[in-house]
């Protein structure tokens, strides 16, 4: 983990790498989040200055989008599709089972920081529903056991 100065330096580099890019803010936020796992508070002044928006405007943009986090996620992230095609294949029941297994509600991270559970609205796997994404890896015809198996792979 970088200290605040180190972080600022790195974020400045990211912002500079996007110079001349039209509408650079989202690419910058994605790049920052890819590097730090979230968009850290300390990165905000650098980004705001770099793209020429106020802190308030920047906050408005970040909070508008579901993807950007203001705190790190758990070590593992489970995303379950909650949309209609997955509902039609019992997605709600799978979600309830996974929630019970993990002891987590939507958007929650366990106290030990191990797992974060998030809803997602369609992964484009609607013909092999229900669908999930565990640590980036897509899973079709998912059930609670498959989610647990994928978590165990990394957790072990």
């Amino acid at each position: 983990m970088l200290d605040e100065t180190g972080l600022s330096v790195r974020v400045t580099e990211i912002v500079q790498a996007h110079q001349g890019v039209e509408g650079a803010l989202l690419p910058i936020l994605h790049a920052v989040q890819a590097e730090f796992g979230h968009v850290p508070q300390a990165a905000l002044p650098v980004i705001a200055q770099g793209v020429g928006v106020t802190r308030a405007e920047l906050h408005g943009v970040i909070s508008f989008y579901h993807d950007f986090r203001d705190a790190p996620a758990g070590q593992q992230v489970v995303r379950l599709c909650r949309a209609e095609a997955c509902q039609a294949m019992g997605g709600d029941a799978v979600a309830a089972e996974v929630q019970a297994q993990l002891g987590l509600g939507w958007h929650e991270t366990g106290a030990d920081g191990a797992v974060t559970l998030e809803p997602v609205f369609c992964l484009g796997l609607c013909a092999c529903a229900p669908a999930a994404q565990v640590n980036g890896r897509l899973i079709g015809r998912v059930d609670a056991a498959k989610v647990a198996a994928h978590l165990a792979k990394v957790g072990a």
Partner: protein
């Protein structure tokens, strides 16, 4: 031995990578030299991972393949399904947009060229701008993103606008549940989308293009980025497209998980680095779009269909279809179905044919109760309406929409009150917040449906009123069309809304 195993996200989500590893191990064990091509998906998702082996007679299919069963690819067995091209699902289609998808190596420019790629662009380059516009108009192509606006008219507006810079923006936000056609073509034949964007660019005078691609599609993002590099190396993108002296280049931009950013003006704001709030129209994006410059915003399928229209001619394309719905549409059959996947057909099929014949009914084997067509803003259809032909006007006439042609099937266990509630909940979560009837109305809608669920029938007229307010007072279709799934559920499945008051009361 040459085998094809899809890199398509659905195939991978069902174990395609494990199948590749197992095939390689098995080939090694047998001392067979194996050449694995990662193709796109043919669209038969119930057969994925579908392994194909090249033979003198054609490509033989094996699926749904499992890592434990790969010996069958060498020895034959119950997973052998014969020549893939001869399968009924393949033969019954009119594959124009998806002609190459699942056939070629998506990133091989040679494969692409050998299967008709570049032919449309070559013909377009030999035409005048006016001839190109006339060709798109004559094809009858309408926007496949949902609104169904004639593509030729949109392009003509941008072509006629005078500006120092113009843009082509491909809408690859594909947020509708039950849809994956954009994802499949981007993963399986990305160069066709690029070729379509190039033709759009040289026609309207735009020099730069963006694909706004949703973050939920990591595989498509990776393939598209590689495809842009391949297209640049092949001279399709750059300072002089195919040596014509006309410049066009493009890049891939990633969304950030907001359904409303599929709406074109919200998308443009997002692309500019702003909140994805919907803009009032006018001004049209065609005149004041990205950074205030004239911009074509088109769906992936609209753009990926352009090359085949130029390759085969507008008349050949327009010969398919019904009424004002010309050409073909990639039907995406999803949810509770025995056979789910993508089926490209001329407009005009009935829902009954799609659900009963193509999809083979439900996966659970129970009777079909309802079919939602056109994503979260689309109506729920009961079996009574299964004879409606698939077309823009035909669906509008039934209080529905074809949207992006997603078809989600539910069996009799579906609770239509819960589906109506979800439609409101989704609208509330995804509202951009600009109009009150959408932002607040959707929250009230969910509460009102909860009252009905508790047996309060007096809330039903309230729900109707609320839907009227949302329809009349919303700036875009998120607030304006959420009443479609809600009211269709209420109208066609009234029993699900007739709840008895809880015993305690």
């Amino acid at each position: 031995m040459k085998v094809y195993v899809p890199l398509d996200a659905a195939a991978r989500a069902l174990g395609a990578d494990e199948v590749v590893a197992a095939l390689q191990a098995e080939a090694m064990r047998r001392g067979v030299a194996l050449d694995v091509v990662r193709n796109g998906s043919r669209g038969m998702v119930w057969l994925e991972p579908l392994v194909e082996v090249e033979t003198p007679a054609g490509r033989m299919g094996f699926g749904p393949m499992e890592a434990a069963s790969v010996a069958q690819v060498f020895d034959g067995g119950p997973l052998a399904i014969g020549l893939v091209e001869d399968l009924p699902w393949m033969k019954a289609q009119t594959r124009l947009t998806f002609a190459r998808c699942g056939v070629i190596d998506p990133l091989s420019v040679e494969d692409y060229r050998a299967h008709g790629g570049f032919a449309g662009l070559a013909r377009a380059l030999a035409m005048s701008v006016e001839e190109r516009l006339a060709e798109v108009t004559a094809s009858g192509l309408r926007g496949r993103g949902g609104a169904g606006f004639p593509t030729g008219i949109k392009w003509r507006t941008v072509a006629g606008a005078v500006a120092d810079r113009k843009y082509i923006v491909c809408n690859a936000d594909e947020g509708d549940s039950g849809t994956f056609a954009d994802r499949m073509i981007m993963e399986g034949d990305p160069l066709s989308l690029i070729e379509g964007m190039v033709i759009a660019g040289i026609t309207v005078g735009a020099t730069h293009g963006f694909v706004y691609l949703r973050s939920e599609y990591p595989d498509a993002i990776a393939v598209m980025n590689l495809a842009v590099l391949a297209a640049r190396a092949a001279g399709m993108l750059g300072a002089s497209v195919m040596g014509s002296g006309i410049a066009f280049d493009m890049e891939i931009r990633v969304g950030a998980g907001a359904y409303v950013c599929g709406e074109e003006t919200s998308l443009l704001n997002s692309l500019e680095g702003k909140r994805g709030v919907v803009r009032a129209k006018p001004p049209l994006p065609a005149l004041e779009g990205f950074m205030g410059k004239p911009t074509v915003v088109n769906n992936v399928i609209s753009l990926a269909t352009i090359p085949v229209i130029f390759e085969r001619g507008a008349a050949a394309y327009a010969a398919h279809g019904i009424g004002r719905s010309r050409g073909t549409i990639p039907l995406q059959i999803a949810g509770n179905v025995a056979r789910g996947g993508l089926f490209e057909a001329a407009f005009g099929m009935s829902l009954g044919e799609i659900v009963d014949d193509l999809a083979g009914g439900t996966a659970t084997g129970r009777p079909v109760k309802a079919v939602q067509v056109g994503g979260p803003l689309g109506a729920y259809f009961p079996r009574m309406l299964f004879d409606v032909p698939f077309g823009y006007e035909e669906y509008a006439g039934q209080g529905g929409l074809i949207g992006h042609a997603g078809i989600v099937v539910f069996d009799e266990s579906a609770d239509m009150l819960a589906q109506a509630r979800f439609a409101m909940e989704f609208c509330a979560i995804e509202s951009c917040g600009k109009c009150t009837p959408c932002r607040i109305g959707a929250v009230r809608g969910a509460e009102t449906i909860d009252r009905i669920a508790r047996g309060d029938a007096s809330a039903i007229p309230l729900l109707h009123d609320l839907c009227d307010t949302m329809k009349a007072g919303s700036l875009c279709a998120l607030g304006g069309f959420t009443p479609y799934p809600v009211l269709s559920a209420l109208t066609h499945f009234p029993d699900d809304f007739a709840r008895v008051k809880e015993a305690a009361e």
